[in-house]
Symmetry: C2
Subunit: 520 residues, 2 copies
């Protein structure tokens, strides 16, 4: 896409054909809002323009928040009695109801909670963090990485769990020893200059670390079998885990997860639950959000849209100049609509994953008995990962996740799910499986108004962050007449709140560009 | 030390020679309190026994806290008007006074502070964390590791700073590529089985990560030059830094610091300042702590001790059955005493380091302009490290450290120190050096009642955690008659609060064992 939008607009404006040319370009999908952060929009541009926003998740909330600032008359139609969509925090007193009619009542202690949707805010996600700052949502560090968490591998160490600091540091030690050996043998003389060979050997001595003979013989980095203390209380280092054992696929996930770009420290979470974000938006938006409003039809009407919905059982309608639609595509296909053929095809074909989490309340045995504070644990067979809470550390009881995934597991009966989840904890922390109480299961495939978690084909976690988007993506990111599709799936940050926020900002930009062009 | 204390005591007790044998053994330094956590002491053992505790830092406070629980009559003599010793938090309104008569008044905003002494609580330091829990000191995560912090190296990248995620992940990528090449070339056929070679190549493909051809061509782990966004806002990965550049010693510290055992995530700090710990102890201890009490002589007297001190200019004395002495050895040598010759020799010879920190208040440009939240930054020439605050994140202003070290730098005039410190920030974050305001310098060599930070020869940071202790250690950890020396230096965790706490617990155990033996 070689055209610079700013240059194009300038030239088009000079030539007098600004408005028509712009509208043509945007309708052809040739005009992008890329690299326009913060929004490049004239104050008050939205005055006299009405917008129907379908869905009060992060995308809808961000869109309404930005558009109100610009003078647009916005209405969010939200099917639930709460804002947030998949950003859903469950606490004691809450009920989890599924579309199959099953119900779970949560009875955790006051202060305990689980974020069954998004639960992490990477520090590189500047849009959503920016809203937290603007809206005054208090944040705390989310511990995604702890060197004290456990890994269990049936094929290694007799199935007894090992500590992550040991797996990570012993693996690096062995790799360094082998490479140092090759360099000393002259195997890389063709590839490295004599100076670089010397520097590399020096580096590996620190990196491993290696002893003077170039061997990895363990290190305090890999931890102690007996901690050093006072007086003659000498520390005893862990013996290195041998390389053959570490070369098992079941350890790699635990070693490398923390290095994914959007999993790297520093990570955050709102104090008290992720829903502090949508609730802060909702407070700021006031009457803009209409709850219990279930969309029943999306029609094009004149130059705008007509949205049919029910509210408290009453049929209603909302006319607007534009529509920003954040409803899940898998539900959208069952709502009567006037979408053009290409959109209908993508919407009909797209498949949603159905991620789940299982959470339990327990005495914080991981803190009190193992000195583990937050972080992730893995087993070779079972409900991965175990995710320990970053909130309420040092208090008596907390809520951990034992199982966050998708796939066939969701088909098991609930009691088998819970049994498997408990067994996972028992593998990692023998004797503590029985401390788990009050399990809660949320499978997004069964959650009303979602029936899925994210579009698997678009998923960055499956395809790599820099992977090209899945089929249909190019269609969905362009407006269908007055209708703009927003949500995490319309971004390169699929399944992240940041993607939802950025896609909403982009739609605000595109609509505003269009309003400006029409007025020119 | 092949003797098991418990077995020995049991046998000695059976033989009727318990008391005498035990006292002999302890006086010979043959009896240890190793592995006795928690304390193995009968309730109320201290009733009728008096203890003079010299110094109200962490060691003295822990000793008094434990001994009071056991019924001992304790008095802490503390020279300052506050508890904590080197655990010292400076805030707006505080004055820093040095022994040379110079003064700095701190005028930072309310809520801002700097811990000029210890500033980290590793989650593996279970003793000090246990006291935080018992005393109700609220903790928060201390971010010791952030992948977003900067490293600057004059010899690399034209002196422009690079982001830590890139240095760490590119270094691993290059190492993995070279080792994979050697394995494919057959260089390790003698060392690895065919199966392990295959597994290692698979592992390196993930570890690097490497592409199908075995090359490291970058990765999202190393970050983006342009972040991915919504619509067609495609992310652009950073180009890998070449291996030659990374093989510079100035990068190693930044890469490896986080892996030291006592620097690994999860780390903590008290909310609001490290002095929340000693102040919580002091609240619990009440009148046990006598402030402004300057010790002037330490005498052995009968079976106990007689401590001379001044209080509000008045000469006083305190008689006690035992003395637990935590005064810095470099000051102790100037206080008249009855120590035996071996102790006097160690005390006369020991050398203290004089660590310093320089702290500035500033707009949080690192957060607001660079998305860096906590963590450490390094330059090749300048005031290392830069240490960004973990407290008060997302607020407007904060206090960072630019320079935490020891050595010749302490001899520079104050204005030159501050200029060098500011230059360091300017190297890492060009244009932001001028945002630094209200510098504060604390050099422990100049702090009254310390005149030093820690005993360099005992230091774990210099010698490795599992290194044997320095000369004199074996002497100082044994009682000199009724006098027990306590403090971080009397532990394998030199310069850590954990070491101070454990050495105090050990002394409580040793004294209690002795009391029990004497009564038997």
């Amino acid at each position: 896409m070689p055209i610079s939008r700013r240059n194009f607009l300038a030239r088009a404006g000079q030539a007098g054909g600004f408005s028509a040319a712009f509208l043509l370009m945007q309708s052809l999908g040739l005009i992008e809002a890329a690299e326009l952060r913060p929004l490049d929009v004239a104050p008050g541009i939205g005055k006299g323009v009405s917008v129907a926003i379908l869905g009060g998740g992060i995308a809808g909330l961000v869109a309404a928040y930005e558009m109100r600032e610009l003078g647009y008359a916005c209405t969010i139609l939200e099917a639930r009695s709460r804002s947030g969509g998949r950003n859903w925090t469950v606490r004691g007193g809450d009920t989890v109801e599924f579309i199959d009619g099953s119900r779970q009542l949560c009875s955790w202690d006051a202060g305990n909670y689980q974020n069954f949707g998004p639960a992490r805010l990477p520090s590189v996600h500047t849009a959503i963090l920016g809203y937290c700052r603007k809206l005054g949502v208090p944040l705390e560090v989310e511990v995604n990485t702890s060197r004290s968490t456990f890994l269990e591998n049936d094929a290694a160490n007799g199935g007894r769990p090992v500590v992550q600091r040991q797996v990570i540091n012993d693996a690096r030690g062995h790799v360094s020893e082998l490479l140092a050996k090759c360099i000393r043998q002259g195997d890389l003389d063709q590839d490295l200059s004599p100076d670089d060979r010397t520097r590399m050997l020096d580096f590996l001595r620190h990196y491993g670390p290696l002893d003077a003979a170039g061997a990895y013989v363990g290190s305090d980095r890999a931890g102690y079998s007996k901690l050093p203390g006072a007086g003659n209380d000498v520390g005893v280092l862990n013996k290195p885990i041998d390389m053959h054992t570490l070369l098992d696929e079941n350890f790699w996930g635990g070693i490398l997860f923390e290095e994914a770009f959007d999993m790297q420290a520093t990570m955050f979470q709102p104090v008290g639950g992720m829903d502090r974000i949508p609730y802060a938006f909702a407070r700021a938006l006031g009457q803009t959000v209409q709850y219990n409003a279930i969309v029943t039809a999306i029609r094009k009407s004149g130059n705008g849209v007509r949205i049919a919905y029910t509210h408290a059982g009453q049929a209603r309608q909302l006319d607007a100049d534009y529509c920003l639609c954040s409803l899940p595509l898998n539900l959208l296909r069952n709502i009567p609509n006037d979408f053009s053929a290409p959109y209908r095809e993508v919407i009909a074909a797209c498949e949603y994953a159905a991620a789940y989490k299982i959470a339990w309340e327990s005495r914080r045995f991981w803190e009190q008995d193992y000195n583990i504070y937050g972080g992730l644990e893995y087993v070779s067979q079972g409900c991965n990962p175990v995710w320990l809470p970053s909130g309420g550390m040092f208090s008596e009881r907390g809520v951990l996740v034992s199982g966050y995934g998708w796939g066939a597991f969701t088909d098991l009966p609930l009691d088998q799910k819970f049994a498997e989840s408990r067994r996972t904890i028992e593998r990692l922390h023998p004797g503590h499986g029985k401390e788990l109480q009050k399990p809660m299961y949320v499978g997004w495939g069964l959650v009303p108004f979602n029936q899925g978690s994210w579009i698997q084909a678009f998923s960055s976690s499956e395809r790599g962050l820099d992977a090209p988007p899945g089929p249909g993506y190019e269609t969905m990111i362009q407006p269908d007449g007055p209708i703009y599709f927003i949500g995490d799936y319309a971004s390169r940050l699929n399944a992240w709140q940041e993607g939802a926020a950025l896609s909403a900002q982009r739609a605000v930009q595109l609509v505003s560009d269009r309003v400006r062009a029409q007025r020119a």
